[in-house]
Every structure is written in C-alpha cells, then in structure tokens.
Symmetry: C2
Subunit: 207 residues, 2 copies
C-alpha cells in the first residue's frame, strides 16, 4: 500500500495524524499539487476525485477521500480499541455528526477563503476575492459551536479523542494561511489546541 | 424517535428515500426553515449544526447530519442486507468515497449556487451573485466524473444501489432550482436518473 500526498495540505496531514494515532506506517509518495501534478490524466485515472491524499492498494485499487481512507485503514489494521470512529451505533453517529460539522462548517469555508484570497490556483480556477473574505468570516463564525462544545467536553465529540479532533486540529492549524490564529476570545478551543499540539501524533507529523 | 425536516430540502429528501429503501417509518416534524424556525435558540439546542434534518431519540438525544442519521438508523434497524453503506471494508470505503464526492463536488457547489443566485436567504447571509454563477458552472463540470463512472457501472458506487445513488439523485433532482436539468449531453446520468425515478422509494417520497 502507498499513500499519495502533499504533506502540508490539511487533508494529507489529518490522514498522517490518524495513522500515527493507530500506529500504522505506510509508504508515502509525494505529489506536487502546486505544480499541477494532480491535473494529469494519469493522476485522475487513480484518484477519482482528482485530489490528494489517496491510498493505492497492492492490487492497484485506489481509495480517495480522507475519511474513507482512515476508516478503511483502521478497519483492516485491526480496528483500534476504542475506535477513532466510535464503537456503538450512537457513538459512531455522534462522531460522524461532529466530523461532518468540522468539514462543512470549518473546512469548506476555510479552503474557499484560502483559495479565493490567496489566488494560489488562479492558473486553474476563477477567483472571487469577496467570496474569499465572506468565507473567512463564515469560518470564524463557525468556531463558536466548537468553543461551546469544548466548554462541556474535553474533546470535540465528547470524553475521548476521535477522528473529529484530528480533523479540527488539521484545519485550524492550516488556518494560518488566511492569517488566522486562535486567541483568548475562544479559550476552550485554545486550550484544546495546545493539548493537541503536544500529542506525539501531531509532533511526529509536523511539516 | 422523530425526524425534524423540511420535506423539499434535498438533505431531508435523501434521508426519506433512504428510510423508504430500508423499510423504516418514523414520525416526522415539519420545520419552517424558510421562515427561520431553525434560527431560534430552542432549535440550536437540539440540532448542533443548526440544520434539518435531525433525528431526536426518545431520550432527547439528537443526531444531525444526514449521513450520520442514515448510518445510525440502518444500524439500529438491523443492518440492511446488503448494507446501503457497503459490507466489506473495501466496499464501505468505496461507498464513502463516492458519497463524499457527491457531497463536496456536487452538493456544495449546488447549494452555494442556489443560495447565491436566488438570494433566498438574503435576510440572513451575504449574497455573492458572481460566486453563485461560478458555483453553478462547477456543479455542472463535476457531473462528468459521474457520467464516466455510470458508463462502467449501473450504480454510482458499482454494481448495486447504495446511499451514494440516493445522495446524487436528491441533489440532481433539486438542481431544477438553478434551472438545471439533465439532458442528452450526459446520457448515462440521464438513463440512471430515469431508472432511479421509478423506484418506489423515490415515488413515495415525492413532494
């Protein structure tokens, strides 16, 4: 198995942190997405979504989408105890709910803010600066839900670490690209982020 | 258990189709999202993401996010055979990959196109008409991946119906709000959509 990635991309980072948490090492292949290596027909033949990270199995089967990759790898590795996706149906639902909230309310506006403010991919997509600024504001507004949740629980989905914390960490850490850093206005998030930063899985995957 | 919903919203529709496919009937509560009933503190106390649909269990626990709701309900109902989420680790990964591609490449641009072109929620969010038009184009461009996949397989994730078909159907059906309808330029999608439209789960949940 190999993982194709671009290590500083937040979705590559969250897969790397996940693998470190479950203690699984896999060969990595670097893809130069800034240079457009993911835009070739050869790349799209492997990664149906045209994105990194993706996992290539020994028989050539490819799985893309970070969460699908993590769930698959945990499952074939001999599911972690407790699972980073939750164990009971209700726990699994709660983890999936919070992970999707991170993705749709934090990741989507963050990545749209980054691409539209920086214009990093202006060679391949239409840029809308005003939408970038609006997205940055929506990203910041979305954090209040997580600040509130972390006032009641030590981790995003409750009493223990799950994939949800890994997702939120990877995106908040990436948010420096839009000149955003957590501060005292969200003390629970700040405290949680500091604790996350000290985990071996985060230290060992730092780029 | 009760599902809080707004039946014509595409995420409510996909949960309804899913429930019809697994043969589960649940009490429904209508929420007037156009009138802002989801913006109240009482609503947000229940639905952490501030959105419909969400599931309220008899003990008051609430689960939001459509895919989390579907996975939970299939699981407690006595998992369908075969499961609409896939059965083996590889099948589960493949279904999740395609379902997420529907969400990030079709749903996200479609909903951003709808909200920014129509201005339907201009009482509560900043509208960017140019981003709406750009999103409509991205939505249309994204369909080529699915057209290609349906040239090789009868269903989006392969040889049988999964949640992925339900998701894609609900969003393509909703796309009439941005004056989009499938036509002969994507014959495989058109054929698949016509077959989906004849399923009892689709007919019985028509709004």
């Amino acid at each position: 198995m190999k993982i194709y990635e671009f290590p500083i991309a937040p979705n590559a980072r969250r897969v790397s942190i996940f693998l470190a948490e479950i203690g699984l090492e896999i060969e990595r292949v670097n893809v130069d997405i800034r240079g457009g290596e993911n835009l070739t027909p050869e790349f799209k033949e492997k990664a149906a979504n045209g994105l990194i990270p993706f996992l290539e199995l020994d028989d050539g089967t490819c799985i893309c989408e970070s969460v699908a990759i993590c769930r698959y790898l945990e499952s074939i590795h001999g599911q972690s105890v407790p699972s980073l996706f939750g164990d009971t149906p209700l726990e699994i639902a709660n983890v999936e709910m919070w992970n999707r909230m991170v993705e749709f309310q934090v990741m989507v506006p963050l990545l749209q803010a980054f691409r539209n403010i920086s214009g990093i991919y202006k060679d391949r997509e239409t840029i809308n600066q005003a939408w970038g600024e609006e997205s940055k504001q929506r990203f910041i507004n979305a954090l209040s839900t997580f600040e509130h949740q972390l006032n009641e629980f030590p981790y995003v989905a409750g009493d223990r670490l799950t994939i949800t914390d890994i997702s939120l960490f990877a995106f908040l850490n990436f948010a420096k690209v839009i000149q955003f850093r957590l501060d005292d206005s969200t003390p629970n998030l700040l405290h949680w982020f500091d604790s996350m930063q000290r985990r071996p899985s985060i230290v060992s995957t730092k780029t």
